[in-house]
């Protein structure tokens, strides 16, 4: 409940009395945005590898890369996602565009040089600064 006076005040970092009074007086039922991406993992024919795909909203990618070009994220995916600490995803270089839940989406996919298992460990880094409420939902 979401751009409103509250977020505007915070963006501007204005501390004057008059500006401060606005958020203090108005009710706080402000809209929240919920940033979510979807990670899908599966086995590769080559058991030493796994397949992955990772779907983001376009505006999240823009927030993360500073670019409206979906391809701008390709070189960064290996920094954002790691399997088993040091196993980097290797994007296949294509970006599938779509629409889900009313938002433009970009789906990146590729392989990683590590074996798939249903309980494979992975870490996501560097994206929670620009997207503090972000959650990665996984389907294995």
């Amino acid at each position: 409940m979401k751009t409103n006076s509250l977020s505007l005040v915070r963006k501007l970092c204005v501390c004057s009395f008059a500006i401060l009074l606005v958020p203090l007086l108005q009710q706080s039922a402000a809209a929240h945005s919920f940033s979510t991406s979807f990670l899908t993992l599966s086995a590769h024919e080559d058991n030493a590898q796994l397949r992955w795909s990772w779907r983001f909203t376009a505006h999240d990618i823009e927030a993360l890369t500073g670019s409206s070009d979906a391809a701008a994220a390709l070189p960064l995916l290996g920094e954002w996602l790691r399997f088993n600490d040091d196993c980097r995803p290797e994007p296949n270089g294509t970006v599938e565009q779509g629409v889900y839940a009313g938002e433009q989406t970009y789906t990146y996919s590729g392989t990683a040089p590590c074996a798939y298992s249903t309980d494979i460990d992975y870490t996501v880094r560097h994206i929670f600064g620009p997207l503090p409420d972000h959650k990665v939902l996984q389907s294995k």
Partner: protein, 315 residues
């Protein structure tokens, strides 16, 4: 005169309830001349925005103890306490403004609390009185001293009048109190008030006069508005776009399993795709954190849903 009578009555009542110890204590801190910190206020605002109410209240206590920005801190404190359903504590925060803020601000704050208390106790008569007093406080002052009323206070009072009119079932009046700005210029909280009023009046078409009949990709309103547009589609027995969109967005929210901000989910499972178990789960989860009148109504509506399997599979 009516204004002063109203204020005198409200303020005297507050003083009787509270005594003056809290105010005396606050003055002591102010006399210490400690530097205030507006950044703390902004941090508190950010915390309350994320429903981290207790942490926000702790910061506000520090601001108040420092003796500067006390008016702003007290107002935010009262608002958070109301959101938590701590009405007596909110009343104390408002009363502590006496001598520090204008009578208009103090009186408005106290009348908001009075209205909330009356609603929570299902005391329609007192809610009527608070609404009348708030009109007496707000409207004459605006007419007679419009040059002295800040836009922020004007908006605040209109917002409260709209809320109290809504709670009294006076939906036309609620809408009228918000007619000082176009729908798109209002903050989300006011937009929701307008949408809820039109839905309560069984006028779903009004929602589509201010929103597209179908969403534009990437230009979505907040989920709280999407679920209301879906409810409007359901109310007029047509399914175009918003119910499907709401279903997708709520599915994501369910999968995220966020512990906070579950009122949208509860609303969806009450008004769009009725499901008693889900509605009660999310309405209860929401009410554990946020206890404003809308949260209370949502919980009651969820509890009133039939629990038969055939009903829960409706839609």
């Amino acid at each position: 005169m009516a204004v002063h009578n109203t204020l005198t009555c409200v303020i005297a009542g507050a003083l009787l309830l509270l005594g003056s110890s809290a105010i005396a204590g606050e003055r002591h801190h102010q006399d210490q001349g400690t530097e205030g910190n507006p950044a703390l206020l902004q941090q508190a605002d950010a915390l309350q925005y994320n429903h981290e109410f207790d942490a926000a209240l702790q910061l506000l206590s520090r601001v108040i103890a420092q003796g500067q920005y006390v008016e702003q801190a007290r107002l935010m404190q009262a608002r958070i306490l109301l959101a938590q359903g701590r009405i007596d504590a909110a009343r104390e925060s408002c009363a502590a403004l006496m001598g520090k803020a204008s009578l208009t601000i103090t009186g408005t704050c106290l009348l908001e609390v009075r209205g909330r208390a009356a609603f929570s106790e299902n005391d329609q008569q007192t809610l009527e009185q608070a609404y009348t007093q708030l009109q007496q406080l707000a409207v004459p002052l605006r007419a007679e001293r419009s040059d002295q009323i800040s836009p922020e206070i004007f908006v605040w009072q209109r917002q409260l009048l709209a809320e109290q009119a809504f709670l009294l079932g006076r939906f036309v009046e609620s809408i009228q109190w918000l007619n000082y700005a176009d729908y798109n210029e209002h903050p989300t909280v006011n937009q929701i008030r307008l949408l809820d009023s039109w839905l309560a009046m069984k006028q779903p078409e009004r929602l589509f006069a201010v929103h597209d009949h179908c969403p534009q990709v990437g230009k979505l309103p907040p989920d709280s508005i999407i679920v209301r547009l879906a409810a409007a589609e359901r109310q007029r027995s047509t399914e175009q776009c918003w119910q499907k969109l709401a279903a997708e967005r709520i599915a994501i929210r369910v999968a995220r399993a966020d512990p906070l901000h579950t009122s949208d989910l509860a609303y969806y499972f009450v008004h769009v795709a009725p499901n008693a178990a889900q509605a009660q789960q999310y309405a209860s989860q929401n009410y554990a954190v946020a206890r404003e009148p809308a949260d209370q109504r949502l919980l009651l509506a969820a509890q009133a849903l039939p629990t038969q399997p055939e009903a829960s599979n409706e839609n």
